[in-house]
Amino acid sequence: MITYALYFSIGCFALALLFNLYRVVRAPGVTDRVLALDTMAVDAIALLVLFGIWEGTAIFFEASILYAMTGFVATVAYGKFLLRGDIIE
């Protein structure tokens, strides 16, 4: 059962990534693209965790933490750039 749930979940997040990608490729403005990137990081974390369950290994969790942290910093940096140009004032 878990296997099928995993299939489903992985499929969902993979599809989600593709949606994000669409929004990166086709967007009216740049904020949407940054948003899509931010969402990608989150979806990637989910995929990572799912992959961990799939392979039965806990070795990827540090990566998840780092992804969360860097995804956040990247979004903030891009956002600050859009807002002010200078990200470290």
Binding site: M1, I2, Y4, A5, L6, F8, S9, I10, G11, C12, F13, L15, A16, L17, F19, N20, Y22, R23, P28, G29, V30, T31, D32, V34, L35, A36, D38, T39, V42, D43, I45, A46, V49, L50, G52, I53, G56, A58, F61, S64, I65, A68, M69, G71, F72, T75, V76, G79, K80, L82, L83
Partner: protein, 137 residues
């Protein structure tokens, strides 16, 4: 007992996958940058949250290793997601939102993003905005 955990984990996985997908779908479907901001920031948090909890339970129940790392990640995402959204919203306000549709806050100042600072004069901002509009065309 195992079956219970299995059902729980599977449910969480399905919920997580569903919300993750919905979040990203919203990003594609919703009409304007402000509304698009709602979908992923919220749906994705629950999506990832459910998956993380599923993982935690899975390792505790089937691999005999209780790891609480997932809690850390959840905490982190919950702490940071609003900030990211806030930033993108501010950027939207500056670029994609008609200022006249907003009511000014009570009190003396305007919204922070519209308050010019000493380092940029109003004219300069206007010029830059002009240039940017030209660029867009």
């Amino acid at each position: 007992m195992d079956l219970f955990w299995e059902i729980l984990i599977s449910a969480l996985l399905v919920i997580g996958g569903f919300f993750g997908l919905v979040g990203s779908f919203g990003l594609v479907k919703l009409p304007d940058p402000m509304t698009r901001l709602h979908a992923p920031t919220k749906a994705a948090t629950l999506g990832v949250g459910a998956v993380l909890i599923a993982s935690m339970i899975y390792f505790a129940a089937f691999r005999d290793s209780l790891t609480l790392h997932e809690l850390m990640i959840t905490l982190f995402i919950f702490l940071t997601a609003p900030i990211s959204a806030h930033f993108l919203a501010k950027a939207n306000l500056l670029r994609n939102v008609d200022r006249t549709t907003l009511t000014r806050p009570e009190g003396e100042g305007d919204w922070a993003v519209f308050t010019p600072l000493s380092d940029t004069s109003a004219e300069e901002l206007e010029e830059a905005a002009e240039a940017e509009r030209d660029e867009a065309r």
